[in-house]
């Protein structure tokens, strides 16, 4: 008798996925070793990668990608957890607060980026105007090479912290109330409970937030492109924006080498990390 679960159900999805995702991924390993114009390719060995790690602009992109990924993901974990504890605690207007923190997640990244570009204008922008009224001389958020990347990272956190918060809330809500009641009976303080109950038992949520925001942060392109286009100069370039710039300049091989570098960064960080984090599951 034939199975009611035929394998050909995989076929349509497999076809689309293979042609537009698997094939390009494998092709990228080959084309990254070539000088390529999309029509013609010449095998040149590892030259693209040598260029990638010698050209200061490209090395900067590599370093910035790591900084951006770690900063955004770290801040999302800390702020998301803080907000989640706040929003599951004794506080009024929870529904409003959750909505207002979460809504930016759904808004167009380009729209958010352009809005904050205006808000961060060094002379006329609202942020520096507001800082000026309390006597602080705000920096050129996006025009100063020392701050540009971090400013974009902060906007990324502003936009994405709502998702981290929701994931933490789901994790905290799933902790049985009995633990808190027992701890309270034993005279535990709020900090004790956070440290010894919430933190360890919300661990799956923490793992999810770390992994999701690292994957997103390392691959991030649109916000950076909308706000600085990698500038001033190339000081806020990341690998994803280098890929686009090299593609536009016609260096398809170098662009694809950038893709392979990004692939290696993401898998080399995310896979071991998720294995490590998932292994240290708490014993109940």
């Amino acid at each position: 008798m034939k199975s009611p679960y035929p394998r050909w159900f995989y076929l349509p999805a497999a076809l689309v996925y293979a042609v537009l995702f698997v094939v390009p991924t494998f092709a990228s390993f080959y084309f990254s070793l070539t000088r390529w114009t999309i029509f013609e390719s010449h095998f040149i060995g590892l030259d693209n990668f040598v260029t990638f790690f010698q050209e200061p602009a490209l090395v900067k992109g590599f370093v910035n990608t790591l900084i951006y990924g770690i900063v955004t993901s770290g801040l999302k974990v800390v702020l998301g957890l803080g907000l989640a504890v706040l929003l599951t605690g004794r506080i009024a207007a929870r529904g409003y607060l959750r909505s207002v923190v979460f809504f930016p997640v759904l808004v167009s990244t380009i729209g958010v980026g352009l809005t904050f570009t205006v808000l961060m204008n060094p002379e006329r922008g609202l942020i520096n105007q507001a800082l000026g009224t309390v006597g602080v001389d705000g920096p050129g958020w996006l025009t100063d090479p020392a701050y540009a990347l971090l400013s974009v990272a902060l906007v990324d956190v502003w936009k994405g912290v709502g998702l981290a918060t929701l994931i933490f809330i789901a994790g905290i809500v799933s902790i049985p109330q009995e633990y808190f009641e027992a701890a309270r009976t034993d005279g535990a303080s709020a900090w004790d409970m956070f440290r010894n109950i919430t933190l360890p038992l919300a661990r799956p949520a923490t793992v999810t937030v770390v992994i999701l925001s690292l994957i997103g942060g390392l691959r991030s392109f649109d916000l950076i492109w909308a706000m600085t286009r990698g500038g001033p100069g190339f000081t806020s370039d990341v690998v994803a924006s280098v890929i686009y710039k090299q593609y536009q300049a016609g260096f398809a091989g170098l662009s694809t080498a950038g893709n392979v570098v990004l692939f290696v960064i993401v898998t080399a960080i995310v896979l071991p990390l998720s294995r490590f984090l998932n292994r240290k599951e708490v014993e109940l």
Binding site: Y5, V16, S28, G89, L97, V100, V101, N121, L166, Y244
Partner: protein, 273 residues
Amino acid sequence: MNGRRNWVLSIVAIVVSAVVFLVPFAFIVLMAGKDRAQASLLDFSWPHQLQFVRNFIDVVEARDYMLIIAYINSTVLTVASVAGMVVLAAMVAFVLQRRPGRWGGFINFLVLAGLIVPPAVVPTIWVLKGTGTFGTMPGLILVEIAFGLSFCVLLFRAFIATIPRELDEAAVIDGAGPLRLFFRVIFPLLRSVIITAVVVQSVTVFNDFVNPLYFLPGDPTVQLTLYNFAGQYTSEYNLLFMNILLITVPPLVMFLFFNRRIVAGMTAGAIKG
């Protein structure tokens, strides 16, 4: 125990959240209603004369109604790709959950790879060119489907695990073939999780900037109009912000109607890693 509320903390939280999260949106709305001269001051102020309607008309008419074309393109893209990925992913998830077999491990690996691996951009263009679909809407739709499948498969597989197998058996005994079993029995039962997937993925595809930028040059989607206007409107911030306001409306509507669904979809997997 949760009865006593901490009012001081509540008020601080409400004020801070308003400053941090509402002011930028208020800024967008105010800017969208200003005249050109006042908008170029970039300050947070009430418009001297409200001209929402005029700015709206100006933005719609700009560049031969580019925004209208972009809205049509984005709608076609979103509807077609989300419909495609939901149906294809549900078929995969169904067989994958019911009959993991020899292929199960490999397919799970592919699904996870789809979430982690950054798409190889230029080789994708190369494939699209090779199949004659580069720069065409069908090509971009298929790309969006390929990139969205993984999320949908994970969401559906978890839900299908909760549908009892007895239901399948009953349908088979009644003479249903695989197609009938899936489309008439299982698919309708997925309704709630399908709504979640549709809402989350619609917002994702509608807001997508990178894929249209690479794979559909020349034909604008709404995110690209914004990007193009940003270059053109360096002196017309009122129109730029009217445009931002207009493309924020669809996600806002989704949020107002499907808040719970979106939250359910996006936090799926938070409890069991």
